[in-house]
Amino acid sequence: MPIWCCKHMPSWSGMFTLCMAMLLMTLGCAVAPVKFENEPFLSRTDEQMLWRRAEEEQQAVIQGGKLYDNVSLAAYVNQVAAVLRPDRFPPALKFKVYITSDPFMNAYAYPNGGIFITTGLIARLENEAQLAAILAHEMAHAAGRDALRAYRQCARAGAPEWPASRRGRWNGDRSERDELDEGLSGCLQDVGRRRESAADACGLDMLVQAKYDPSEALRVFYHQKAALAIDGPPTQPVAGSHPLWDERMKALEQLLATIYKGINSGKLGRAAYDSQIQPVLLLNAGLNLRCGRYQWARMDLERYLQIQPGDARAHYLLGESFQQQGGKAQIKNALECYQAAVRLDGGYAAPQKALGLLHFKQGRRQLARRYFQSVLALAPDDKDRLYIAGYLAECQSKGEP
């Protein structure tokens, strides 16, 4: 289940969707009680089906072109997951972590051990210990067979208010899924509420066993609170127990003060994390800009510039975040950022184009002309070259200033 769910994110975690789909296929059938004693993984058909659907959904995401292609980072996050994996987890459960190019903060696990984490969440985390806390939580969901648990419990409860005529017709259509959401979310939230806390506790134990600083598990919740302060509460119905962050934080604090009392430190892995996520910060800033999330883009870029202060592209993107947001003060900031980018890399056309556009709009045609000419010389194939040529012609026809 997702630990995060933000504005514009689908309200559906993969697991939640799977449970819905599975329930539709088997409504009315007798289901086993939600107990797993002496029940090996994949020994029953419902779990086998759940895993098959999980595999299908994962393939759809993978083939959908949203995976972030960074071999080094993928190896890094999977290595963290491998370190976290306790020996007690069944061999049938094989974890694989995937990173998606998505500026919103989210992570979720499929019952077969597939874990997805967004660049938006990776960009917000401060160190490897926090990444480990997220991964441990998601791994705990898979190891706890929470999808199967939710599926069986809700099936046993008898899918509420679902019209029989629609059974088996679920085809992924949003409006029908929304109706499903209304019909079943109460049951799933009830399961989810309890399982989120269980996954938090199990994840915390995994974090301690792997020698990470356990207090970092709490820090990840602060990021979510900060997100709420910027974005506001989610606009869509949220599956699971996400409104219960305060409750979960309290439970974690209690565990840290009792069971893990005295463990006040551990591995943070900040340097390793910073070295891995630099390209993620730039990518995510670009994604946030495209979505009009200027404040988020600036957070990505300011962090990146702390690590790489001399990067012209980051200064340019920071300028874009100000310029696109607009307003007198922001335009002034944008100008400074673009100028910094040009100083750092005189052969980089993008900030020169941005400066040309700013001066052009403000009627400083001489300056604009200089930058536009520079852009066409530096990047004759620039995607905006026809626009630039037009603006340049206008500058020349109107003369000074």
Partner: protein
């Protein structure tokens, strides 16, 4: 169940109230176009939509909207001093962020004169949720505090059928901002 894009859904709903029109201007908007002979005008106070064979095959949509009205998917707004290239980029970002458009492929983004004003022309392909590939040519410009746009959208196989493209060129040439 076949799911249409948001624009198509709007068109479908309002087609219940369609009316037929000849070569008339749309008086309730701050713009006018000549509606070609044989095309149906679909009544709505938000858009001007005309079609000949049904909006699921092709349609021409003309719209005006306040600059400060945030776009649905990105929340971005336009500014009175936004240049055509900047407006075009906002529209591209909006298209990219639209969950109903998959496999979006921007074919062209070039300057264009729209109703005598500096504007832009985008040409793009996308697949709607039913799996049908649509091709759209989209013109836009800013006048005062409003953004005007007109587009011709058609399923790819019918894009150049029945002289619809020629008709759209005529509509575009007749487009005037009052």
């Amino acid at each position: 169940m076949i799911k249409r894009t948001a624009a198509h859904a709007i068109v479908l709903m309002i087609m219940l109230f369609f009316s037929m029109a000849g070569a008339v201007a749309a008086a309730e908007f701050n713009f006018s176009i000549d509606i070609p002979e044989g095309w149906w005008r679909v009544n709505t106070d938000k858009y001007l939509v005309i079609t000949k064979d049904g909006a699921f095959r092709h349609y021409i949509l003309v719209q005006e909207r306040p600059l400060l009205l945030p776009f649905m998917n990105t929340g971005k707004t336009l500014k009175p001093d936004s240049l055509p290239s900047e407006v075009a980029q906002v529209i591209v970002d909006e298209l990219v962020a639209d969950p109903n458009l998959t496999e979006l492929q921007l074919i062209e983004n070039i300057p264009a004169t729209v109703a005598g004003r500096p504007g832009f022309q985008l040409t793009f392909l996308y697949t709607d949720p039913a799996g049908i590939v649509f091709k759209t040519v989209y013109y836009g410009c800013i006048q005062g505090d409003r953004f005007y746009n007109l587009r011709y959208s058609a399923s790819e196989q019918s894009y150049f059928e029945q002289e619809a493209w020629r008709v759209f060129s005529g509509v575009r040439n007749s487009f005037q901002i009052n």
